[in-house]
């Protein structure tokens, strides 16, 4: 043996940046999605369906375009982002792919983020398709505050990723996600204010509904688009952001709590 140097960890050489690492895996995941023709077709068809259907149920509450965009944000985040990610994380875990990805230089967070990228891309495409649909229908109105809807969707997307990691904990197979996602899909969506105005509820129930994970997203989108709060009051200027504070804090709280639980319970390999 000729080695005389200490085999300590060598001084860090410049490794791939975090972005390059995540990018490499995200590119592969996107390729996988594009090779799944059914998924590609669905991701374009379902928002078009929404654009076609919502005018039939149009309410007098808000202008059609704004109602469509709020519905697109809410439905896409839950039915696509959240549901798809639960299925993806569980499928990758059960196929022993997640554990394999953890044996390299990627950090745990990078593995989860890269796996989520294709779903997030499709989420963005779907919302864009609906936005274009709104323009085509001639229903576009300039938003009162363009920042709030974007913030709402970004925070909502982060929350959906985190909720999906948490839901995967008690989802044993991709198929059983149909059941384990019901609390978020049914309860959170039903009471989000998309199907009926929350003012129709007794005050206590309305408050509870506003604390559910999807409601603050819908509130913030409507607030930014039309300048109206959840109970229909019109606000502007500083009052607009003051009204936005509650939903933003609620979203952040959900991210923190669900994230902490997921950090504790997330499983990288199937139960043995």
């Amino acid at each position: 043996m000729t080695a005389t140097t200490a085999p300590a960890v060598p001084a860090a050489t410049a490794g791939p940046s975090r972005l390059r690492r995540v990018g490499a895996l995200a590119r592969a995941e996107t390729l996988l999605l594009l090779r799944n023709r059914t998924a590609v077709v669905n991701s374009v068809l379902s928002p078009l369906l929404l654009v076609a259907l919502v005018p039939l149920f149009g309410t007098d509450e808000a202008p059609l375009g704004q109602a469509l965009l709020a519905a697109a944000a809410g439905f896409t985040l839950v039915f696509l982002t959240y549901y798809n990610l639960v299925v993806t994380y569980v499928a990758r875990r059960e196929a022993l792919v997640l554990q394999r990805m953890r044996t390299g230089e990627l950090t745990d967070g990078e593995v989860l983020a890269a796996t989520a990228v294709p779903t997030l891309l499709v989420t963005a495409v779907q919302m864009a398709v609906v936005a274009v649909g709104v323009v085509v229908l001639g229903e576009w109105r300039a938003p009162v505050d363009p920042v709030l809807p974007v913030l709402a969707v970004l925070l909502g997307a982060v929350l959906m990723v985190v909720l999906a990691t948490l839901s995967s904990v008690w989802t044993r197979t991709p198929e059983s996600a149909q059941v384990t996602t019901l609390p978020v899909v049914v309860a959170a969506t039903a009471a989000s204010g998309l199907f009926f105005p929350l003012t129709a509820l007794p005050e206590v129930l309305a408050t509870v509904a506003r604390l559910l994970p999807l409601t603050p997203v819908v509130e913030l989108v409507q607030l930014g688009l039309s300048g109206r709060t959840w109970d229909g009051a019109a606000v502007a200027g500083a009052d607009l952001w003051w009204a936005a504070l509650g939903p933003v804090v609620t979203l952040l709280a959900w991210v923190l709590v669900a994230g902490a639980l997921s950090l504790r319970w997330f499983r990288w390999a199937p139960k043995r």
Partner: protein, 314 residues
Amino acid sequence: MHPTPALAPTPAPVVPPAVEVTDLRRRHGSFEAVRGISVEVRPGEVLALLGVNGAGKTSALEVLEGLAPAAGGSVRVLGADPRRERAAVRPHLGVLLQDSGLPGDLTVAETVRTWAGTLTAPRPVGEALAQVGLSGRADVRVRSLSGGERRRLDLALALLGRPRVLVLDEPTTGLDPESRRTVWRLVRGLVDDGAAVVLTTHHLEEAEQLADRIAIMRAGTVVVAGTREEIAASQPATVSFRLDPGAPRPPVPAGVTVVSAGPRVEWHTHALQPVLAELLAWAARAGVVLPGLQARAASLEQAFLAVADGADLG
């Protein structure tokens, strides 16, 4: 930590271990899968962990790989904690899990390219594929690979970052003899370049071929460890011969366990040479011929089976 004997005339350069495991413990709920094992692997050295299924081999490796926390004791890989200092250790660690999956709809080349994109100093993709004999399968979807081809792809990924420490959990299980030899050749090449290797295996031949040192595990502990010769020596050697009825009987030397007294005599002893000398001297004096005389040291297989049967060894 590594005292150099004061009286040694030319102290050999001290090479600290690349992998240092001290009193490692690991629990699954209330079950203690690893119950205090200590092993060391130096650069350029291969350690094989042998043991029946459930002996705790994989559970121990998962701590080395930084995938699971230790319940007690310590593990250092290149001087660092593989879990808490994962970012420092990982660029130098190659891991082959016993079972691991890859997305089936990527091609072989896409899979290697993706993994290379996440590493600090990857080999070129072509070189990595050539190494494991998969160059001709670069454009095949992973789904369509045979079991052996998939295992070789696993290995290509484990070697892709030019690791200085390699952890291989049953690297050749399910491989055909030719693929197995390819894997052995690759591992030997890395070791010659100074890599430290820890592997588990069910194949005694693999341990004999590859390992500098062997540790046999049972129920979460290392029951016996050492070189192949040392481990074999932990088992008694066997002396056997035939004695015709009526022939004078040799005196039984000290330290011999008589397994059979005749007509086929079989003795077990930990002191093969003196026992044999005594026997031969007696035969010469008494003028007795010992037909079918055999003397052999224990084999690794004997030691392994003895451990699997639950015997406690030195």
